[in-house]
């Protein structure tokens, strides 16, 4: 995750097209990833991403730098995504709950022979993440954006810090169970008997 330079933000606030393009270029993959986490459909995620950047443009003048720019932007995306689901009458996404979702019955252990292909690894990882509860999925997605601190994730999701820690811990535990064949340590060939 790359926090945009302060100068880029200031120039974008002044309407500089190149700076706006830089912001879009540097943030679109993160915004799209968050959108996919929330709406789970590529077309919807694209719409949400576009909507988020246009809203960003309109609200850019109000950004005063009190928080990280990325935290501010991702919070905007999350709120837009939740509003979008609500307008459609879709089941509401809950960010403050902590359901104990059992993944063991959906473990991917049986798919072990398929795990050698990188593309399949990607699919398996994303499928395992997709099966997590909403809050854990979003917290983990933000967590894996390199520089996203727990405090920033709490700010984006609007939940207490300990709730974020719990979401991430539980999410990782479930992922580890689902993806056990992929994260098992390599067998040491030369180990003594």
């Amino acid at each position: 995750m790359a926090e945009p330079a302060r100068d880029t933000i200031l120039r974008a606030q002044a309407g500089d097209r190149r700076a706006i393009a830089d912001l879009v270029d540097s943030q679109q993959r993160y915004v799209y990833s968050i959108a996919m986490t929330i709406v789970r459909d590529p077309t919807d995620a694209a719409d949400l991403t576009q909507d988020a950047f246009i809203r960003l443009l309109r609200a850019l003048g109000t950004y005063r730098g009190e928080t990280r720019f990325t935290t501010w932007l991702y919070r905007l995306v999350v709120n837009l995504g939740i509003d979008r689901l609500r307008r459609r009458g879709a089941p509401p996404i809950r960010l403050d709950d902590n359901p104990d979702f059992d993944l063991t019955s959906q473990s991917l252990d049986d798919d072990a022979p398929l795990l050698t292909e990188r593309a399949e690894e990607v699919a398996l990882v994303r499928a395992a993440v997709a099966r997590l509860p909403d809050a854990q999925r979003l917290a983990l997605t933000l967590h894996y954006f390199e520089d996203m601190r727990y405090e920033d994730i709490a700010e984006v999701m609007g939940v207490p810090l300990n709730t974020v820690k719990s979401h991430i811990r539980r999410g990782k535990t479930k992922l580890a169970e689902s993806l056990a064949p992929l994260i098992a340590p390599a067998a040491s060939a030369g180990s003594p008997p």
Binding site: L10, G15, M36, E121, N162, K165, I168, R169, T173
Partner: protein, 176 residues
């Protein structure tokens, strides 16, 4: 990153938040590192190429539309006018009150027991000295004029402030 998060995880577990039990044993550090290495690069979803192009075009069109709605958005930030705060409608009554107070204070001092008659004498002597040194230069004349103004209309000294406020106020409509 991993070290900090691991520390936070351990901190959370120490606080009693961990999921104990055989079914959900906490991840050990090595397993967590392998999980992070596996998931991190695979979780970021790249938007389709055609969408990236159309997204940028849409955002730039929105920027144009926004400019049309708010043309003053592009006033350069380096402009001193743009950087100055808005002028309150109370500024002019405040300046008027300031001038009135100033005149009242000057008037009361003039009528008080304090003697100010040494001031014109000093000014005359300075003017005479200036004319001797400068040979009756325009500087001497300016000095006399300033002396007259200081005696007869001391409020003139506030005009630069009034002019400054006027200029700031005049610039306001250009920003709206």
């Amino acid at each position: 990153m991993i070290d900090r998060n691991t520390a936070e995880r351990l901190d959370g577990e120490a606080a009693g938040h961990h999921l104990g039990g055989a079914a959900r044993s906490p991840l050990d550090d090595a397993a967590e590192r392998r999980l992070d290495a596996l998931v991190r690069p695979r979780l970021l979803v790249e938007p389709p190429t055609e969408f990236r192009t159309s997204l940028l075009a849409s955002v730039l069109r929105a920027a144009d539309a926004l400019d049309a709605e708010r043309p003053a958005l592009h006033v350069p930030a380096t402009s001193s006018v743009a950087a100055s705060p808005d002028l309150s409608a109370w500024a002019y009554p405040a300046v008027a009150a300031l001038i009135a107070t100033y005149l009242a204070v000057v008037g009361s001092l003039g009528g008080a027991a304090i003697r100010w008659d040494w001031l014109p004498v000093l000014v005359e002597q300075l003017g005479a000295a200036a004319s001797i040194v400068g040979g009756g230069s325009p500087g001497g004349l300016l000095f006399v004029v300033l002396q007259g103004l200081a005696e007869q209309a001391p409020w003139v000294a506030l005009l630069p402030l009034l002019w400054l406020l006027w200029e700031r106020d005049r610039a306001l409509p250009q920003r709206q």
